[in-house]
């Protein structure tokens, strides 16, 4: 019985994936493109050396963003503000980090601390509003995203702009050499490829830390209990208000790391070209990976793979937008399937229990 349940829940993503590809194929057929050829081209391009490095680089911020969202999800808290949190944190960290120079590990650690602290503080506002004023976190974090965007626009142009530069656009000063995270290319003998971001290690550590935090600590237990049954949690002595603040701050803290992969590994400064949208993509990856550190890793790699491999499509006269639709299909179907499976499991458990009672 148990085994069957396990197989059912593992097969869900695979079945969802096949259906999503099936539906995208139908759309491709509808616009007169060959789906098999399209997916073959994508796959072939996606497994080239350069693509693999790019996929890993892309999946690092996606993964961390998913973890930030998952911390909230675990207790039923919907932090949509990861987007604003990581952008605010990246700007502050990029600026502060550019103002001094010490040995590399300390410099990078310092940048990480600044980013985590500023992001956690930004997220704490939403926690405070929920606890003290009863404002739902979805509303407050969305609004904080807008406020954050405005503050970034103002701050980047007026406060953190590189002084004395004749560059057309506002941008923070470049990080000194000691603030740039070394690439991992030498480690993995990837001489002729682009930089593999060193932040990969941080992402792995973050994944392990998340697992430990949620499944091995009292805080994690409280989070999970509250998520499963808020009323029971409250009567078992968990202070929900304290927990909301702690969860929001923790989620925000993780969010602060989202932008650091691109910042330390590629851009080395905050510019108007800095990647946006990672916070929202993280929600999708968290849903896909069911808040599990391993599942989210797979989800991040999958989305990164689709994003990278779809770049080739425009060169082959296939609209690149098909990849966005594919992502959306996967997400929708996966969510539906998880729900079906959940209901199935609950029903089975009820049945098993009633059987035991009967006998």
């Amino acid at each position: 019985m148990k085994l069957r349940l396990r197989i059912a829940s593992f097969s869900a993503p695979l079945v969802a994936l096949s259906i999503a590809f099936g539906l995208s194929s139908l759309i491709l057929l509808f616009i007169g493109k060959d789906p098999i050829e399209t997916f073959r081209i994508m796959f072939e391009y996606g497994i080239k050396g350069k693509s693999i490095v790019s996929i890993i680089n892309r999946s690092i911020p996606l993964y961390i963003s998913a973890i930030a969202v998952a911390v909230g999800f675990k207790m039923g808290l919907f932090n949509i503000g990861v987007e604003g949190q990581y952008l605010v944190a990246s700007l502050i960290a990029a600026f502060v980090g550019s103002q001094f120079s010490i040995i590399t590990p300390i410099h990078i650690l310092f940048i990480i601390i600044i980013a985590v602290a500023s992001s956690a503080m930004w997220a704490a506002i939403a926690g405070y509003l929920k606890v003290k004023k009863g404002i739902h976190e979805v509303i407050s974090t969305i609004m904080l995203n807008y406020i954050g965007t405005g503050l970034i626009a103002y701050g980047l142009t007026n406060v953190f702009d590189e002084a004395g530069s004749d560059y057309e656009l506002p941008r923070t000063p470049e990080l000194p050499e000691s603030g740039k995270m070394p690439a991992l290319n030498n480690l993995f003998r990837l001489e002729d490829l682009q930089d593999l971001h060193g932040f990969l290690f941080v992402a792995i550590v973050v994944g392990i830390f998340y697992y430990w935090l949620v499944w091995k600590t009292t805080l994690g237990f409280d989070l999970r209990i509250t998520g499963a049954n808020p009323v029971a949690a409250k009567f078992s002595g968990i202070n929900p208000n304290r927990l909301i603040i702690v969860a929001m701050v923790t989620s925000g803290g993780f969010a602060g790391l989202v932008g650091l992969g691109p910042l330390l590994g590629y851009f080395h400064r905050f510019t108007i070209d800095f990647p946006t949208g990672l916070g929202f993509a993280g929600i999708a990856v968290a849903l896909l990976g069911r808040n599990h550190p391993f599942g989210m890793g797979i989800g991040a790699l999958l989305f990164a793979f689709l994003e990278r491999s779809s770049q080739i499509l425009d060169l082959n006269d296939v609209p690149k937008e098909i990849e966005r639709m594919l992502q959306a299909f996967i997400l929708l179907i996966v969510v539906v399937f998880y729900e079906i499976i959940r209901r199935f499991i609950v029903k089975q458990q009820v049945k098993d229990a009633s059987k035991k009672v009967e006998t």
Binding site: I19, S25, L29, K33, T157, P262, I272, F344
Partner: protein, 373 residues
């Protein structure tokens, strides 16, 4: 229990059927398509671009990477596209165009894709490509690169620059001569130095005719928000406010946002009975906006044309003829890369004055400012 099972069985069978149906369908279509059109064959992955290396029957190729916003902005990107299209037509080139999906790493990636596919000329449309050019171009010394509105360090990159302030100065002169309310407007897309060139040139042009004219200045967005180049609703809002405050001519340097300004001009003209105008940018918008939207055509006084299409065409021409050179190339009033259009004939009566100022700028007697004081 059995009912439960059968329900699941049915569900999976249905999904199975859908999947096989999709698979089967696509096979058929695949065969049809290969028969139907040749391109399916040559559209292999870039790994097989060996074909391009063969000396026989190798048509010159051009790859255009547009900026965010993409095609359909009736301005900056469409302008580049028209130059690219003309080059394909005239020189029998093979063309590819790509649109970035945001984020800086993607620009480099797209340039690299074009390079790996063996293109002879790769154009990055917009100054934001400068970092990506510095990164990609050195690895492909045999390929020509070009960037609009920007410069890059590598020797094989041509920086196609334009003296926006010169054309904007003339737009300011025209506005100042045509206004009856002594009040004109300016709408910028995004509040940053490139657009300040337009703004400052315009202000100087207006002041050269009559320093007492009021100039209202509005911007659609501030960096890092670049939505201001493609936000017609915002453009209309700003324009309505400026017309309301007494302006009867507004000049925009805001890409797709400007369409909203022309809509506002029509609305205000019809509501008040007094005609107000808009001045276009980049393209000769009398045609590019006026043809698809004929009801707006009569409100387009003139346009400050920036012939980026010609620059891209010329870069393609030089590539085909083997005379391509890197480095900055500047277009201004004297080269004809920047000019004020007379389409519609609304400013024919002040042509003499405009020509006079044009000569003064070319001779260096007047130097329109391009940075804010």
């Amino acid at each position: 229990m059995t009912r439960m099972k059968s329900k699941w069985l049915v569900l999976f069978i249905v999904f199975g059927l859908i999947l096989t149906a999709c698979g089967g369908g696509s096979d058929d279509a695949a065969e049809e398509e290969v028969v139907a059109e040749e391109p399916a064959e040559e559209l292999d992955s870039p790994a097989t671009t060996a074909a391009a290396a063969e000396p026989v029957a190798d048509p010159p190729s051009i790859c255009l990477v547009l900026d965010i916003g993409g095609l359909g902005d009736l301005a900056f990107n469409d302008l580049a596209y028209s130059g690219y299209e003309k080059a394909i037509e005239d020189f029998g080139m093979v063309g590819t165009f790509l649109e970035p999906d945001g984020g800086g790493e993607n620009r480099g990636e797209l340039l690299e894709l074009c390079a790996e596919a063996g293109n002879d000329l790769i154009v990055g449309n917009g100054f934001l490509f400068d970092a990506a050019m510095n990164e990609v171009a050195p690895s492909y010394p045999d390929i020509n690169f070009a960037i609009t509105d920007g410069v890059a360090e590598p020797g094989n990159v041509r920086g196609m620059l334009f003296k926006h302030a010169e054309g904007s100065f003339l737009a300011g002169v025209a506005a100042a001569l045509k206004t009856t309310t002594n009040n004109v407007g300016f709408i910028g897309g995004v509040d940053f130095p490139l657009i300040h060139e337009f703004e400052q040139g315009y202000l100087a042009g207006v002041a050269a005719i009559n320093p007492d004219i009021t100039v209202q200045i509005g911007y659609a967005s501030v960096p890092p928000d670049f939505s201001g180049f493609n936000d017609p609703v915002k453009g209309k809002e700003i324009a309505l406010a400026q017309y309301e405050a007494g302006a009867d001519i507004i000049y925009h340097a805001a890409g797709g946002t400007g369409t909203g300004m022309f809509e506002a001009a029509k609305e205000v003209s019809e509501a008040t009975g007094t005609k107000v105008w808009g001045i276009g940018v980049d393209f000769d918008q009398y045609y590019t906006v006026g043809n698809p939207l004929p009801e707006l055509q009569e409100y387009i006084l003139t346009s400050m044309v920036k012939a980026a299409d010609v620059s891209i065409y010329n870069a393609a021409k030089a590539t085909v003829e083997g005379t391509f050179t890197g480095g900055p190339s500047v277009d201004d009033l004297s080269t004809g890369g920047i000019y004020l259009s007379y389409s519609g004939g609304y400013i024919d009566d002040i042509k003499d004055t405009l020509e006079e100022y044009k000569e003064k700028i070319i001779s260096g007697e007047i130097v329109p400012p391009s940075v804010r004081p």
